[in-house]
């Protein structure tokens, strides 16, 4: 790329010296530091260097590099940046003028190191292929098995499953339908389907090119990237996903056979949403339906399913209490999709943040949060869910930094990361406070034949 006048004119403000690199008479590269300025024409003028052995040549391509770091004693350094120019030198008035033809540069204030690294992934893959070819063995990147499983399945996201399932179990327990082993096996089945969905999502995002197009992944967004990085083969991912689905669905069928075949209504709906979230032909997430699908799957479907396993019937209460949790899980996806916008758009994933303007996305977030907490207040006050569940309103405060970060850091994925974490906490804390509300009601019910109305 030819250097822009802005890049060249900015050099003296950003760098204190230059290094001229050229090929010497022995065929070795040789590099010499010197001072420089940029003249009114925008030409880099380098101070002459002394000594016959280190004279840069005229009329041959040289590489002039400007590099800067700021040492941080005892830690390392920051403020990393460099500009590399290639061109020919010409002597003029005791100086060396560089006719710059092409450039390469990086400034960590303009492009984070994480993005720079992500842009290097294709080169890394080529290098592994090259080393494999040179050595005759399959050389691949590695991680320890535990870390690899955590990364591949995106294990920490299981809180999205635990909250609605625990809620369903808590509502059932309030109505005297509880069994430890049924609760545990329901959690295992739901977790398997969730992890299978995560793995399947990565498979389809890799195949569609969405992961490769996304150069700004964060710990909350952009998928596990294990296939893209070469850590896990596509075939292994397919087998893992199928295996997890088999366990989850197998347990679900066994539960349906023992607790009531009506369980299949939510079981089949959940499995279909899970599979077709990214899988063709429906590819719900590509059609802007991903947020609704996730809200349904990790809200009403999981809560109703868990409730049914224990109570052997459906009811209105678990459905109502699952709605706030479903909206908040959809909001996790919604906010996490903000940094993924360019990659998603390139891969044809028309998510809501791809479709909406920044203002639209923020307004949507505010509205969804307002509806969530209004539902909790109305349901609890009216007694449609237990009244102690109103304590979940305390979690509303967690939405404020997310809203602020969306306004201030919408275009900066890494500055948005803390807000993405806070948004996950919003779901988790709200859900756990709802569960706590039910536990309070269960305890009140157990210790008193006629508990006060604010505890039931």
């Amino acid at each position: 790329m030819k250097p822009s006048p802005e890049l060249l004119r900015g050099l003296p403000d950003r760098f204190e010296h230059a290094v001229i690199a050229f090929v010497d008479a022995d065929g070795y590269p040789l590099s010499v530091a010197t001072g420089f300025r940029v003249d009114e024409r925008g030409v880099v003028v380098l101070d002459a260097v002394a000594g016959d052995e280190v004279q840069p040549p005229e009329g041959e391509e040289v590489n002039v590099v400007f590099s800067h770091i700021r040492p941080q004693p005892g830690v390392g350094y920051d403020e990393r940046r460099y500009v590399s120019l290639w061109g020919e030198l010409r002597r003029s008035n005791g100086h060396l003028e560089l006719a710059s033809r092409r450039e390469q540069h990086w400034d960590e204030e303009e492009m984070t190191f994480f993005e720079l690294s992500e842009r290097g992934v294709p080169q890394a893959r080529r290098y592994f292929e090259q080393v494999s070819s040179e050595t005759g063995r399959d050389v691949r990147p590695r991680l320890s098995l535990g870390w690899l499983f955590l990364r591949t399945t995106r294990l920490p996201f299981l809180s999205a499953t635990f909250v609605p399932v625990l809620l369903g179990i808590a509502v059932a327990a309030l109505h005297d339908s509880f069994s430890w082993w049924l609760a545990a096996i329901t959690l295992v089945a739901a977790a398997c389907v969730h992890l299978a969905l995560n793995v399947a999502n990565d498979i389809f995002d890799t195949l569609s090119g969405a992961d490769e197009a996304n150069v700004n992944p964060t710990q909350f967004s952009g998928g596990s990237r294990v296939i893209l990085y070469g850590l896990v083969r596509l075939r292994s991912m397919v087998l893992l996903s199928l295996g997890l689905y088999a366990v989850g669905i197998g347990i679900g069928i066994a539960l349906a056979a023992t607790r009531g075949w009506s369980l299949l209504w939510v079981g089949v709906a959940g499995a279909l949403i899970s599979v077709f979230y990214t899988a063709p032909p429906l590819r719900l997430v590509h059609r802007g339906l991903g947020e609704i699908a996730v809200g349904l799957g990790f809200g009403p479907i999981m809560t109703l399913g868990a409730y049914f396993v224990l109570a052997r019937e459906y009811a209105l209460e678990p459905l109502l209490v699952s709605l706030p949790v479903g909206i908040l899980i959809a909001l996790i996806l919604y906010v996490n999709e903000v940094p993924d916008r360019p990659g998603d758009a390139a891969a044809g994933k028309r998510t809501l943040p791809v479709r909406l303007s920044k203002e639209g996305v923020i307004r949507g977030y505010e509205l969804a949060v307002a509806v969530t907490f209004a539902l909790i207040a109305v349901f609890a006050v009216s007694g449609l869910i237990v009244r102690p569940a109103i304590i979940a309103l305390a979690a509303l405060v967690l939405a404020l930094p997310v809203r602020r970060a969306l306004r201030e850091s919408y275009e900066n994925p890494y500055a948005l990361m803390p807000a993405m974490g806070k948004n996950i906490q919003l779901h988790l804390v709200t859900g756990l406070l709802l569960v706590a509300g039910y536990v309070t009601a269960i305890i009140a019910d157990a210790v008193s034949d006629d508990p006060p109305s604010f505890l039931s």
């Binding site: 010499v32 101070d47 002394a50 390392g76 994480f114 890394a124 990147p141």
Partner: protein, 162 residues
């Protein structure tokens, strides 16, 4: 074994950044800022596979030069600038952990925060798949006080490798 002059060793031992110049497939110089590491005999640099073009270049042409030029990035009593020419080899026999055994202790001395990043290897798995560049010096140039408007002292360390 070549022995670098003491002032250049002092620079290598403290420099947080250097400029490694390699030759591309058309013998054009390409320079990369990298941390130089020195064990008293050889100079080591380490490169992630993410930025491995330089490794391909070194495999194609082993001739390299390394400059220490930034007064802000070295801690020596009397600043100097140095350039070392030499022949480099790439050790990518164990990209996953070979560099941890061979160069991490040297790297840690200069950039202690690397241990914190290494603890989060799961977040940056490809960054920590790394090759070692091993550089054997053949000639060195030293500019006292960093003044390249004066001729350098030249140190011939070994016969040129042809």
């Amino acid at each position: 074994m070549p022995l670098l002059p003491e002032p250049i060793e002092a620079l290598l031992e403290t420099a947080l950044v250097s400029e490694l110049t390699v030759l591309d497939s058309r013998d054009r110089p390409v320079t990369h800022p990298l941390i130089p590491l020195y064990d008293g005999e050889l100079i080591y640099l380490t490169s992630s596979v993410l930025f491995s073009k330089k490794l391909e270049h070194i495999k194609g042409n082993s001739r390299v030069s390394l400059s220490i030029s930034d007064p802000n990035a070295v801690q020596v009593e009397r600043f100097a600038r140095a350039t070392i020419q030499g022949d480099a080899t790439v050790d990518d026999s164990d990209l996953h952990s070979g560099w941890e055994e061979r160069v991490l202790p040297l790297w840690r001395k200069k950039e202690p925060v690397i241990d914190m990043f290494l603890g989060k290897r799961v977040a940056l798995p490809l960054f920590f798949e790394r090759a070692i560049i091993e550089m054997r010096p053949r000639r060195a140039f030293l500019w006292e006080d960093g003044r390249t408007d004066r001729p350098p002292q030249v140190f011939e360390l070994v016969e040129a490798v042809r």
